[in-house]
Every structure is written in structure tokens, then in C-alpha cells.
Amino acid sequence: MSDARSDHDRLSADLAQLRGALRAVDAPPLDEAALRAAVREARRRALAGPRARRAHRARWAAAAAVLVVVAGAVAVVLLGRAPSGDREQAAATAAPPVYVAAFQPLASSPRLLPAASYSVVRVRIPLSSLALVPGSEQGGTVEAELLVGEDGLARGIRFLQTDTMLVSAQP
């Protein structure tokens, strides 16, 4: 036990001596000019860092823009997308049909009441049933909408413009 204690004390004393000896160890003399040059170099690197990063980012942005343009052009070519004029025409074709007129009351039906609820039912009517159209016996149809009351009876009718044109085109 006392041996361990004396070992501990001896080592402590030796470490204290080593500490003292190390205190006397000198670092190499300061080369102030070299040190200042190192500071300037580090500052230059630090400043160049963000500038280089900005340039790098700009290069990437330009490359991305070129990529987007090329991809767009390729998509237009591959998908055969039409120019804007044709697109507008296509949109017009796909637009909902324009109605010729408001609903016309049917002669034999009860009156339309503003507070009552009605359903709109689209039907295709054979031209043969409309004796008014010349040549209707040849089997054409016309599309119309019926206004149907809660009792199931039709209250009004209107013909769609597209079908009107279709009808006129029929031989």
C-alpha cells in the first residue's frame, strides 16, 4: 500500500519535472511576414469561396434552363403537339354546345312554375317524328333537351345548335 503511494508520489514529482522541462521547450521563432501572408491567403480563399460557389450556381442554372428548353422542344416534337392556333381551335371544338334558345313550353303540358324543381333530360329525337323537316323520312336524328317536372311529364323543349347544323347537313 505504501509502495503504491510512494510510486504515485514519485510519478507526480517526475511529471511535475517534465512539465517544467516542457515549459522551457520553445516553439520555432515567429516568422511574422509568413504568418501575415498566410492570413491574406486564407482571406483570399475565403472570398474566392462564395464567388466560386455563385459562378458554379450560375453555370448550373444556365444548364438547367437549356435542359428545360430542349426537353420542351423534344416533348412538342414527340407528342406531336399542335401550335397555339390549332390548340385554340381544338378548345373551341371541345367547348360545350351553344343552345339555340331557351326552353319552349310544350302546348299540352301544365304551366312552368318558378318555385318548382325540374330535371333536364337530353334526348335524340328521330327526324321522322318531326314532320316539319323535309327528307326526315330518311332516318336522321336531332338532339334536344327536355325540361321534365317531378311528375315525369315534359314541360319544355330546346334544340341544340350543333344538332341543328347536323340536321341541316343531312341529305
Binding site: 517534465l18 522541462a21 516542457l22 521547450v25 520553445d26 516553439a27 520555432p28 515567429l30 511574422e32 492570413v39
Partner: protein, 201 residues
């Protein structure tokens, strides 16, 4: 009184480091002048080589230039922060050194240990034994015993709990004592035989 002085020193170092972070050249030169010996001595104590210590010192102060803004005064003094930087550099270099010297015989595997710096042979042997300790014990002993950092500061530099510092110091001291005893035992018969030869002649 000593504590107050140390606190004032810390304050000066912290102000200089803040100026270094702001790019003030003179502040860096002044900080270097004040703390280069600490860093050099730590590296020298760890590796027992002047050239190694000089390289470490240069690398540490380059790191200081680049990372001065990362210093957090709440985590410890500038001196302790510098020891932390120096420790990283030392460990990296030791690792590299070991990689390069793996094929060499064990006796020459680490550094140029022939440097004679201390006239007292006993101190020379103690330093040589210290440089052969496993790194975790060596760095704890150098920081706490030779650089006289507190246990808390040593723990902060090593990034481990205070209890670990204590146990590493205890174990390091035990290993050091055993190594020195071994050296003494090996040296004793040589001395005896030399004496015998002198008597005979």
C-alpha cells in the same frame, strides 16, 4: 488571484479570436504569439518530435484562420479550444504516420525518438514512456498533468465525461509506472556489468 488572471487571459484570447473571425490580421498575429507555445508543447509532449510539433502548430493555426467563427465561449476557453484543434490534428497525423510505418520494425515505427531535449535522463525516460502510452491515456495525461487543464476542461477537449478522464488518468499513471519500472529493471543489469568490467580492467 490566479483565477482572475486566467479569466482576463481568456477574455483577451476570446476578443482576439473574434477579431480573427472578422479578418483582422494583427489579431491573428497576436493570438499566434500568445498561444503558439501551448499548441507546440502539446504536440511535442504527445509525439516527442520537434518537426511533428511544428507541422501540427502550422495546421492548427490554419484551422484557426478558417474556423475562428465556430468558437463558442460558453463551451470553454480559447486555450482549451486550441488544444481541441491540436488534438484532432495530432490524432489524424498519428493515424497517417502509423499507416505509413506499418511495415517498419516496432522500435522505429512512430517517430524520431532519438531527440535529446532534457538533460535529466529520468525525465527523458519518462517522456519516452509517455510517448509510448496508448493515445487515450497519453492525451489525458498531457492535458491534465502537463498542461494543467482542469478535469472539466480536459473532458471538454477530449469530448468525454469527467469520470472517463479520471479513469484514463488513473490507468495511464499505472501503465506509466509499470513501463518505467520495466525500463529500470532492464537498465540495472547493464549498469552492474559495466561496473564489473571497469573493476576487472
Amino acid at each position: 488571484m490566479l483565477k482572475t488572471e486566467s479569466r482576463n487571459e481568456d477574455g483577451v484570447d476570446a476578443r482576439l479570436l473574434a477579431d480573427v473571425a472578422a479578418g483582422v490580421e494583427d489579431a491573428f498575429v497576436e493570438l499566434y504569439r500568445r498561444r503558439q507555445r501551448d499548441v507546440y508543447r502539446f504536440a511535442f509532449a504527445m509525439a516527442r518530435s520537434r518537426s511533428f510539433a511544428q507541422d501540427v502548430m502550422q495546421e492548427v493555426f490554419i484551422n484557426v484562420l478558417e474556423n475562428a467563427s465556430r468558437f463558442d465561449a460558453n463551451k470553454g476557453s480559447v486555450r482549451a479550444w486550441l488544444f481541441g484543434c491540436a488534438r484532432h490534428v495530432v490524432l489524424n497525423r498519428l493515424r497517417l504516420e502509423r499507416r505509413w510505418t506499418d511495415d517498419m520494425p516496432a522500435a522505429t515505427a512512430e517517430f524520431d525518438h532519438d531527440e535529446r531535449l532534457f538533460t535529466d535522463q529520468r525525465i527523458e525516460r519518462l517522456h519516452a514512456a509517455l510517448a509510448r502510452l496508448p493515445v487515450e491515456y497519453r492525451e489525458a495525461l498531457v492535458l491534465a498533468e502537463l498542461e494543467e487543464l482542469s478535469y472539466a476542461e480536459t473532458a471538454a477537449v477530449l469530448g468525454c465525461p469527467i469520470g472517463t478522464v479520471r479513469s484514463r488518468l488513473h490507468r495511464g499513471r499505472a501503465l506509466l509506472t509499470a513501463m518505467l519500472d520495466e525500463q529500470n529493471a532492464a537498465a540495472a543489469p547493464v549498469e552492474t556489468s559495466l561496473q564489473t568490467r571497469e573493476v576487472c580492467s
